[in-house]
């Protein structure tokens, strides 16, 4: 039941509860990940700065520096390692804060080990498959700089998290094509398996709000029952 991936993939598990941390460590080791653990936010930041990780699994409810703060801190340091947050206490609040702080996906406790392993593997695979093409996509006032991984309206950069950028890029490079939620999960998150998540809708919501705030007309449409489409209407 192990998911295919390179054997040296390094995962950092940040979790304050000893039993959960050890269980996840044992479980991911079983799926052939190289697992390192940290029990609080400070040691997590230190660990990420010290060594390269392929994925960070971050519990939100850490004592001291919270998981959200760790996320914010790492993104501010321009460390773009994929981050999967685990939310437990205030499910909704944690999820929103975590994703807006730059996390890539979330899982709500309790989850299946196989689900966690599959997502971790997909996030790693997706991260290594970043398009290397240097291109600038233009859509009216919107300019998407693939190389610098930033989007602009005129000269002003739109403040997008990495996953928001990836989603925008996936949509904008397929103008007029209706992309289903499954297709977007595959394109942006690398999830090519059956996954029960509304992460696409959550990120579409964030993206729409940020594009509107930047003064752009509505560019992302919903095709009811099918998916989303990017077009200048």
């Amino acid at each position: 039941m192990s998911t295919p991936h390179a054997p040296i993939d390094r995962v950092l598990v940040v979790e304050d509860d000893d039993a959960v941390r050890e269980a996840i460590r044992a479980g991911l080791a079983l799926h052939a990940f190289d697992v390192t653990v940290a029990h609080d936010g400070e040691s997590a930041i230190a660990a990420v700065i010290d060594r390269m990780y392929d994925v960070v699994i971050l519990d939100v409810g850490l004592p001291g520096i919270s998981g959200i703060d760790v996320c914010t801190h790492l993104r501010r340091q321009e460390i773009d390692v994929p981050i999967l947050i685990l939310s437990a206490r205030d499910e909704v609040g944690d999820r929103i804060a975590g994703l807006q702080a730059g996390a890539d996906d979330y899982l709500v406790k309790p989850f299946d080990l196989s689900e966690l392993a599959a997502r971790v593997a997909a996030l790693i695979r997706r991260a290594s498959l970043r398009p290397a093409i240097t291109a600038v996509v233009r859509f009216g006032d919107l300019r998407i700089d693939t190389d610098r991984r930033r989007a602009f309206v005129g000269d002003d950069a739109i403040d997008l998290t990495r996953r928001e950028f990836d989603l925008l890029h996936a949509l904008a490079t397929n103008p007029g094509v209706v992309l289903s939620r499954l297709r977007l999960l595959e394109l942006v998150w690398g999830y090519d398996f059956d996954v029960d998540t509304n992460v696409v809708d959550v990120f579409i919501g964030y993206l729409r709000r940020k594009l509107a705030a930047a003064g752009l007309p509505p560019l992302i449409g919903t095709v009811r029952g099918v998916g989303f489409v990017f077009e200048l209407r």
Partner: protein
């Protein structure tokens, strides 16, 4: 009727009555003075010229007296055959009635009034007994003057009354201004941070009302605060309790996952059973948490959603389903695009539960892929959306329809499930002041209607 209008009208009516009464008193008094003066004139005239008139009556011609004497009649030989009446001066056109008893009287001649004063002149030897002189004065001009003055007083009075009304209205408005301010303050209480109106409005009566209102509001805000604290404590408790349960559940599940993957020994089957029992527990825990969330839903969780955003939400839930059944989403767009505050996570949860039910229990009995239709209907007057989910399954027996709403109750034919799904849906609807109804669907199965707002009577 507005307070200002009321005071204006009261001032108008009161001053009109006052002025009418006053006008009447003044007119009566004026009439008395004028008629007294007429009487004085007549009496004076009589005193100075009655005797002379009688004395000279025979000797000089009447025409000579005309112009000297205003208006008089000299009667000699009163009551005898030789009675003779000499008219002097101006006479009324119809002629005066016959001379009466000495004294003052008023007679009507045609449509004119005359004041008459008759005196007996008994001691004039030349004419002998029974000589009477009667002086007359037309009252026409006097009455005219009285009428004029009465009219002037009344017209002036009405003008003054209207003025008083306007002034009363203005003052009434002024007096009502503190009340108006209090009304505005009270109307703004709905969105106010602090449940209180101002202390001072500049009028003692209004200040008293404000004080009474504030006393009541203070009790109310205390009660609200206590309720909020209790709700916050309950929410905190629910979150902490589920957190405390989730964490060990997580480690137990993961450990069993590891054990299952690592070992294939004789204990593996038991481990698998334990693992699936924990998974069941996890589902129940999530649902119980959802129940408590729906019961404790707070207004900050609500968001203004238009029909499209709401349909997107439904689309998200329906598209996530990985069932072989066909799910159709229909949005019945009303004439105007309604904005309505809903609790998106709650709606997602409710829809998720209803769909899950429809896909698990709502499949046709012959085992063919089911057909589920999700319709979103928006009430045109209230803007409240209703989600209608129809399936083509076996349906829910009419007797079971109320019972399945209660927590831990399953349909009488159902063997699986926690029995919490519809209870969650019910709580979510109630968090929106709405309700859930279970009925039969035109597709042949169950129809669940989730009204996310009060139903119209």
């Amino acid at each position: 009727m507005k307070l200002a209008t009321r005071t204006g009208l009261a001032a108008l009516v009161a001053s009109a009555i006052a002025i009418l009464v006053l006008a009447n008193v003044v007119a009566t008094r004026f009439e008395r003075v004028l008629s007294d003066r007429v009487d004085e004139t007549l009496i004076e005239r009589a005193a100075s010229s009655a005797a002379v008139l009688v004395a000279v009556g025979d000797r000089i011609s009447v025409s000579e007296l005309n112009g000297v004497i205003a208006s008089a009649r000299v009667v000699t030989g009163m009551g005898t055959d030789a009675m003779q009446t000499i008219e002097v001066g101006q006479q009324p056109s119809g002629g005066l009635p016959s001379v009466g008893e000495p004294g003052l009287r008023t007679v009507e001649v045609g449509d004119e009034s005359w004041r008459l004063y008759a005196v007996s002149v008994d001691d004039v030897p030349e004419v002998g007994d029974r000589a009477v002189v009667e002086f007359a004065e037309p009252l026409g001009s006097v009455q005219q003057r009285i009428r004029d003055s009465r009219r002037r007083v009344i017209i002036g009075g009405f003008v003054a009354a209207i003025g008083a009304g306007v002034i009363g209205w203005v003052f009434g408005r002024r007096a009502a201004r503190p009340l108006t301010r209090l009304r505005h303050d009270a109307a703004a209480l709905g969105g106010a941070e602090r449940l209180a109106v101002a202390d001072r409005y500049g009028t003692p009566e209004v200040d008293d009302v404000a004080a009474a209102l504030n006393a009541g509001l203070s009790d109310l805000s205390e009660a609200i605060e206590r309720r909020e604290q209790a709700l916050a404590a309950a929410r905190d408790f629910a979150a902490s309790a589920t957190h405390e349960l989730r964490t060990p559940l997580q480690s137990a599940m993961t450990n069993l996952d590891v054990a299952l993957a690592a070992e294939a020994g004789p204990g593996a089957a038991s481990v698998a059973v334990a693992r699936s029992e924990l998974a069941r527990m996890a589902v129940s825990l999530t649902t119980v948490q959802a129940l408590s969330q729906a019961d404790l839903a707070q207004s900050q969780w609500f968001d203004q959603l238009d029909v499209d955003a709401f349909a997107d939400l439904a689309d998200e839930v329906t598209s996530r389903s990985s069932s072989t059944s066909r799910i159709e989403l229909v949005v019945e767009q009303p004439l105007s695009v309604a904005h309505f505050a809903v609790w998106p996570d709650g709606v997602r949860l409710a829809l998720d539960n209803v769909l899950r039910n429809a896909l698990t229990h709502g499949r046709p009995v012959d085992g063919s892929p089911g057909h589920v239709v999700v319709r979103i209907v928006v009430d045109e007057t209230t803007g409240a959306p209703t989600i209608v989910v129809d399936d083509d399954g076996p349906g829910i027996a009419a007797d079971d329809r109320v019972r399945v709403m209660a927590p831990f109750e399953r349909g009488s034919t159902a063997t699986q499930g926690s029995g919490l799904g519809l209870a969650v849906v019910d709580r979510v609807a109630r968090a929106h002041s709405g309700s859930v109804t279970v009925g039969s669907s035109p597709l042949g199965g169950t129809r669940i209607e989730i009204a996310l707002g009060p139903r119209r009577a």
